[in-house]
Assembly symmetry: C2
Homo-oligomer: 220 residues x 2
């Protein structure tokens, strides 16, 4: 078990990030610094550092002297973020499949197992486990900027998937797609996994489009 030393600032960052993604914090409302600091039992310094990071991540926005606000969701952002993901992530995963070591493959496999496990038990963790799996496929690319960009896009995506897409038939399809992708990826079949990842992301986008359409024009 690797011991990772984390500062309070980093822990708070991850915690608030999860709250934003899970929809725990309401959008377009200022996050009260003193209140949150008191709740977490920390001072303002690490809290504001976390806020600054989250603003850079596109999860918060900031108005001078008024504070940090959770960014609201919009269908336009879905289109935007998925367009970016489709441009970047499939190729990144393909390249990563060529560089992945046995250790990398083990990490990805474990992430896949954890995702399946979460899908069967703790649904609240599915989003995070899904992101972990996707990132495990990307990380071996060893391009820091690409990894950071893809992670950011996945984080934003997660807000929409968690809010709008209920499991239903999605789970079994996603499970099959993930498994197939992992197999191709672990085998170093770059072009194959690239195509699969494109379809995978695209099908989630299609689901989101349908869902937004439904919510706009609810069936009688």
């Amino acid at each position: 078990m690797a011991i990772v030393v984390q500062t309070l600032s980093e822990q708070i960052y991850a915690l608030i990030r999860d709250r934003i993604i899970s929809g725990d914090l309401p959008a377009d409302t200022a996050i009260r610094q003193d209140a949150l600091a008191a709740e977490l039992g920390v001072s303002k310094i690490p809290l504001r550092e976390a806020f600054a990071r989250l603003e850079q991540d596109g999860l918060l926005f900031y108005i001078t002297n008024r504070g940090f606000f959770v960014r609201s969701l919009s269908f336009d952002e879905v289109e935007e973020v998925y367009a970016l993901r489709l441009k970047i992530e499939p190729e990144a995963v393909g390249l990563a499949s060529k560089k992945a070591t046995d250790a990398d493959k083990k990490v990805a496999h474990n992430a896949l197992l954890a995702l399946d496990e979460a899908a069967g038990s703790d649904r609240s963790k599915v989003g995070k486990m899904n992101r972990n799996f996707h990132m495990a496929l990307v990380r071996p690319i060893q391009r820091q900027v690409t990894i950071q960009v893809v992670e950011r896009l996945n984080l934003i995506s997660e807000r929409y998937v968690g809010k709008h897409l209920e499991p239903a038939g999605r789970d079994s399809r996603a499970h099959e797609e993930h498994t197939a992708m992992y197999e191709a990826w672990a085998a170093g079949q770059a072009k194959v996994v690239e195509g699969m990842m494109y379809d995978h992301i695209n099908s989630t986008l299609e689901d989101l489009r349908k869902q937004f359409e439904l919510e706009k024009n609810p069936a009688a």
Copy 2:
């Protein structure tokens, strides 16, 4: 003249960012917080917020209990960042050209003039003016995440261009490319400007590749 209220944290962020980009701060050396705070006459609170933002921007990296370090330059990062820009920026500029209002066009035109002006007088500002121009072409797309990603990639690019590419013949070619791009963009010729932007970014990448090659194998 629009009055923009900026916090110290934001000003410091921009200031340190410029120092990193200009190569003023040495890479792989911890930035001494107390020293920098004293020099700027501020406390560490806004300073650390700025650092946190810059880390998220990929300009600094962080080691727990040791502090923030300027990320070192590498040719791999050039390839990575330009690969991402080529995937994203041309299409973004093309889309933006379809949405640009007259006000947007005025902003872009002014940015172009400022860039030419800087090229003739204050060379140290060329990088920033170049980025301003590029961003002016992108902003009308009105996609926040895309804008942020493109800006980040441009910031990183700027470090390399400023360090490795001396003007020489570049200036006049860049000037012509910029002018032609602006014309096509302002005319709403999305596909044309998209192609031009691709070539423009690509030619800078080629210049960087040549330069790196030269620095590795200096001519006798």
